[in-house]
Amino acid sequence: MSAAITLAKHGACPVVISDAPDAGGQGYRKLNPHIDLDPRQIYGPEYHRYESLNRQFSELLHIIDYRPSTLAWAIYGGKAHVLRDGQASEIPYRGLILAPGATDRIMPVPGWTLPGVFSLGAAQIALKDQGCFIGRKVVFAGSSPLLLLAALQYRRLGATDLAVLDTTGFSRKLLALAGMRHAPRTFAQGLSYMRELKALGVPVRTGVELKEIEGRNRVSAIRFAAASGKEHRIGCDAVALGHGLRSETQLAELAGCSFSFDPALRQWFPKSDENGRAGERLYVTGDGAGIGGAEAAVAGGSLAAIALLEELGTPVKPGEKSGLQSKVSRLRRFQKSLARAFNWPHEQAATLPDDVIVCRCENVTAGDIRKAAGDDLGPVEVNRMKAITRCGMGRCQGRFCGPALAEITAAAAGQPIETVGRLRAQAPVKPLPLSAARSEP
């Protein structure tokens, strides 16, 4: 949205392709207009940013060619290949800005595939899109700055039976953040979320270890060990699980980006310069380019748009970029510290019980992966592991199991994570119905 607003203000007529029915990333996701939801309650102090972005976008809709509910399933030969209303078509472009966002990064725990377990992002989408909670008694579990925010959004809208289980210790967070002299608003925000939750009576446990999500046919409880080592159980009918974010990078790969490994975040990101430029008239921005959060996405989108305009020969005001550049890099640096603070529990990959399913689409367990790695000439690289075990080969194409697959492979092979590689992408990035091809010549 932010990139489109900037392009439109400079007289360009951008085409915005959005998989979602309404524009706005996940951070400032537009609330379903058919449901009576108060955005002030959901977005709290962020409301004015949410409102301003959506208002500016709406005001420019006569210039922006906006295509919601449209899946960009391939980028090839200077064209975006899209699927809309079940039909495939092509959109040629002069410049491309990719802002595909991120999804939750999830480390499996025993029981994580039970009905009633949602990703943290899905729990928020249920609220923003359908106006409902994922359960009557919801536990927000994992390690993410969004845990507190999501719990608070639920609480503000009237959910009463909630709990937060944060696998990162509070002192660890403080330690990681202590070195930051310009800890931005986000840090203060985190503390205020914590205070607000406490005031509203939502229990927040930090430094816990998730042991198991229990239940026969669906979630009935979550078992965890407190920092002291003592085990506890909380009865619940839904769990929102997340361990931070992972960038959506398939389109960037199809567009020709190269990738580099970020050892702090233990993820691969498309390479780009300080403006988000990743190739000729090709830009990546938002959480899809590097985890930075909603505020960084707004600044980064605008920055990419200005840089693209310059590259295409449109005059822009001098100095317009520099403020945005420093903002994006400051916010990304901060997110990196956050990532260190909110630990991605990669060490759990080594101890995950053999019978836990890692790949839901293809029903592949941690034991299957370890067995393959232990075979003579067994795979020590993720694409190879996928080929042998089918882990990551199903409907989601490894978008959910990929991070855990890499960690388990690295642990089983006794190799550093950066050497086991990255799942390669081919179009379509999401499933494509055969019927979509009918209109093609």
């Binding site: 199809l254 000439l377 081919q426 179009a427 119905p433 055969l434």
Partner: protein
């Protein structure tokens, strides 16, 4: 790691694997050098068809020898590679294609295969899910399918158990020949000495042949392939349009695997072939027309591979003319999976006894000393950019 071995095989694809397996079983010291992982390229990315009908007539003795090995492969390797004797249906949608089917059937029958000719009534009864515009089809019950991703590592493991050495991530940088002995230099594992050298480098086999002055024009390409989500299991045989547009099969777990044509050129200098979206769509459309019941199926994954092609669409197999002790087996033109065990057995014959009962003269590298006529498939099944 360096040392003297009787045979060094360059290339750890399926041909290298079977050659190593048979040589080791024959008691020979053999070492496979693979620059990446075993079975990483077209050996692992192909469609997985073990098809006998419709092959080049010159290939039947080799193909039949190979099929007999496939039929006992899982016993021999001691693990499953999802071998499934599904049978194969060759389908004609135009009248002139029916003549082609009959011609193929006659050739196959001449080599002892049972081929069933099916008209529209028989097809509607046996395969009611097929579209109505099909004129005729031939069925060969001995044809089968297997999972290519699992096959090469399984054969390599079996070869290792028999004493073969298999070295991954070992790229060959030079090959010399001194005092009746090959000297193979690698960057990572020192040098190897060998009496016999097998060039089984697949799409890169032409480069190695050129080191010995045997120039063969080759190009790399791959067919777009895709797989659907799992669906109820209805399609048992693997099915192929005789016009070369599409080939598909369903595995018992439900996914439908499809390869479409024309083939696409591989990326220059790369070990992958990026599938153009238009080709995926075109294969999807063809499949939807042939099996209307699949109209709402979702394609979940697309891939291709890097296959080595030659103008006459048959591989190079046999001894080199330039150097005694050198044997070529590469450029399988997209149909190497089925014949690979046969090639391995033949190379073992040649290396250990000096001759073979299986006729392979048609595949000799010398045919490229003169002008070679391009196969009609080159024009029909390739992009112009691929078939350069």
């Amino acid at each position: 790691m360096a040392g003297k071995t009787q045979t060094v095989i360059v290339g750890g694809g399926l041909i290298g694997a079977f050659t190593a397996y048979f040589l080791a079983r024959h008691g020979q010291a053999v070492t496979v050098l693979e620059r990446s992982f075993v079975g990483a390229q077209s050996s692992g990315a192909n469609f997985g068809n073990l098809r006998l009908q419709g092959r080049d007539p010159r290939q039947y003795p080799l193909s039949l020898r190979a099929q007999a090995i496939w039929e006992e492969f899982e016993t021999l390797a001691g693990e499953s590679i999802e071998y499934h004797r599904t049978g194969h249906l060759y389908i004609a949608r135009q009248d002139d294609e029916v003549d082609k089917l009959e011609h193929h059937a006659q050739t196959a029958r001449g080599h002892g295969l049972e081929i069933e000719m099916l008209g529209t009534a028989a097809l509607a009864a046996r395969y009611p899910y097929l579209g109505r515009d099909i004129r005729a089809a031939t069925f060969c019950g001995r044809d089968a399918t297997a999972n290519p991703r699992l096959a090469t590592p399984a054969v390599m493991r079996a070869a290792r158990r028999l004493g073969a050495k298999v070295i991954e991530h070992c790229e060959v940088g030079s090959i010399g020949h001194k005092g009746g002995c090959f000297e193979i230099g690698t960057r990572t594992h020192g040098s190897f000495k060998a009496d016999h050298l097998v060039n089984a480098a697949g799409a890169w086999g032409g480069e190695i042949a050129a080191w010995f002055g045997e120039k063969v024009p080759m190009f790399s390409a791959g067919p777009p392939q895709f797989v659907t989500e799992p669906l109820p299991y209805i399609v048992e045989p693997s099915m192929q349009m005789v016009d070369g547009s599409v080939i598909f099969r369903q595995i018992p777990r439900g996914n439908v695997i499809v390869a479409g044509y024309p083939r696409t050129a591989s990326e220059a200098g790369s070990s992958r072939t990026l599938v153009p979206p238009a080709k995926t769509l075109s294969a999807m459309q063809t499949l939807g027309a042939i099996v209307p019941a699949l109209g709402d199926a979702h394609v979940i994954r697309v891939w291709s591979g890097v296959e080595g092609y030659l103008l006459d669409m048959i591989p190079i197999i046999g001894p080199s003319s330039a150097r005694d002790g050198l044997f070529h087996a590469f450029g399988c033109c997209g149909h190497g999976f089925q014949i690979a065990p046969g090639i391995g057995a033949v190379l073992c014959d040649l290396i250990s006894t000096g001759s073979t009962q299986t006729p392979i003269e048609a595949f000799h590298i010398d045919r490229y000393r003169g002008d070679v006529t391009a196969n009609e498939k080159i024009a029909r099944e390739f992009d112009q950019s691929a078939a350069r």
